[in-house]
């Protein structure tokens, strides 16, 4: 049977990006469903950035339009949270929060729905 996932997974279950980069280096950014239209469906981006603000600028450079969804006047929008590993950056150094190889950033917008 054809395995439609073959292209993006390898035995052992490590996720690799479409370019074949391993996911355990650099900084991974998890993109929520709501923003996938800006990343061509890519759920996991990888960047090398010194801090959150620089990383968001890099994402906006590569995926124009996503920045407007996340930021307003240089500040994170108040219905969007960014978690570094499992901590909310609002309670850390916000946009200046430092990043290191292996960190995982998750972008979490508020969801309205009980639908």
């Amino acid at each position: 049977m054809r395995d439609p996932w073959q292209a993006t997974t390898k035995p052992g279950g490590d996720w690799v990006s479409r370019e074949g980069r391993r996911s355990d280096v650099a900084i991974q950014v998890r993109i929520p469903s709501m923003l996938l239209k800006f990343t061509d469906g890519e759920k996991l981006l990888q960047y090398d950035s010194p801090n959150v603000g620089a990383l968001l600028s890099s994402i906006e450079r590569d995926h124009p339009g996503i920045g407007h969804q996340l930021m307003e006047d240089g500040e994170l929008r108040r219905f969007v949270n960014i978690f570094l590993n499992d901590e909310d950056i609002r309670f850390m150094d916000k946009m200046e929060t430092e990043l290191n190889d292996g960190d995982v950033l998750a972008i979490l917008p508020a969801l309205a729905g009980g639908c």
Binding site: S33, F79, D88, P109, A110, L111, A112, G114, C115
Partner: protein, 366 residues
């Protein structure tokens, strides 16, 4: 004859904290007399001065209440299980039908008859009888929550049935509270259902929500989500919050004073920026998973058992089939629960959110 006797929590100090003890006797009174002789103090907990079983103590043999059998003279055989269940304040005794219905709960040490009575004493309000509300109501009804309030003013629409499992095809066009109440009555006629067939507003929220112990948020719009959050905090109620979108869900349990939805998301998105399920879609099973987690949280709260999702936000990604939790915390600058609150009563949430209490043009997608 040797039987196993279930010892309820208030009597366990007499039995060395053992939940089950073996006892000998040919009938119930014999078994209780054996325990009386072995565990000082036990006798006066179950017998009157003239050796009758106290009125507020129910005894069950293999989950049948002895008054429906031969009373204190009910015979017991090897391997039978006898349960001694005293009435406790705030908890109604379980009827024999309930003992049988909830037997898979009652046999668990962590629940037991006392826990089941706590569930029965529970009053839970579910906001929205939609995607999340459906599984929450079904599971809480099945679990025996004594009072279930349902807030919804929609009618069942064909497009709801892909995920709103409390409603059926024959319910299309009926008010959701009626459809849900009928389904609950069939699942468990012991549940008292309170129908609130009206929108929750700043005018009625305190009165409606004030009647309950635990609030479950399954609202489909930001205005209601913030209203429910604020009213829960002002009323000092636990709030089990869940939200879903496409293939993703978020769940957390707010304890009053230890962080709230505003601490997590200080303001709603501008109208139109975040699409609703009606606009973007939602995987039909997704609210089942998220709602079942919310129902689990409610039962744990009622039982005062385990670790609630307090100060943790559980993230579920159905496509990756991955659960993760992130830490959330009270924001000391929160306008509601922070150190200098500016929201001290309910506000105009439609204005705050720039959107109505109802999502979009599809009046039935709650």
């Amino acid at each position: 004859m040797s039987v196993k006797v279930y010892i309820p929590t208030p009597f366990r100090r007499l039995t060395g904290n053992r939940t089950f003890v073996d006892a000998d006797g040919s009938d119930v009174v014999g078994v209780l007399t054996d325990l009386e002789q072995r565990f000082p103090g036990f006798g006066e907990m179950v017998f009157t001065e003239d050796r009758q079983i106290l009125d507020h103590v129910n005894v069950y043999v293999n989950n049948h209440e002895i008054r429906s059998l031969e009373g204190a003279e009910t015979t017991v055989s090897d391997g039978d299980e006898v349960s001694v269940i005293p009435a406790i304040a705030g908890g109604e005794a379980l009827a024999p039908e309930e003992v049988e219905r909830y037997s898979r709960h009652i046999i668990m040490d962590q629940v037991g008859p006392m826990g089941q009575r706590k569930i029965k004493s529970g009053k839970v309000l579910v906001v929205g009888a939609g995607g999340l509300g459906s599984p929450v109501l079904v599971y809480l009804a099945a679990a025996g929550v004594g009072t279930l309030g349902i807030v919804d003013f929609d009618v069942v629409d064909a497009s709801n049935l892909q995920r709103q499992i409390i409603h059926g095809t024959s319910d299309i066009g009926r008010p959701k509270v009626d459809s849900a109440a009928d389904r609950i009555a069939d699942i468990n006629p012991n549940v008292n259902v309170v129908k609130h067939n009206e929108p929750l507003t700043s005018e009625n929220a305190m009165e409606v929500m004030g009647q309950y112990d635990v609030i479950v948020n399954g609202a489909d719009n930001f205005a209601t989500r913030y209203l429910v959050n604020d009213a829960s905090y002002l009323l000092d109620k636990h709030l089990v919050d869940g939200s879903i979108f496409l293939f993703e869900g978020q769940v957390t349990t707010f304890f009053p004073g230890e962080g709230c939805y505003r601490c997590l998301y200080p303001s709603p998105p501008p109208p139109g920026m975040v699409p609703s399920c009606a606009e973007a879609g939602v995987l039909g099973v997704l609210p089942g998973t998220v709602g079942a987690i919310q129902a689990t949280e409610v039962i744990k709260l009622l039982l005062e058992l385990g670790e609630p999702l307090k100060n943790r936000l559980l993230l579920y990604d159905a496509l990756a089939m991955e659960f993760r939790t992130v830490k959330i915390q009270r924001d000391t600058a929160c306008p509601l629960c922070g150190e200098a609150p500016t929201v001290t009563e309910l506000i105009d949430y439609e204005e705050f959110c720039g959107s109505p209490f109802h999502e979009g043009p599809l009046a039935s997608d709650n």
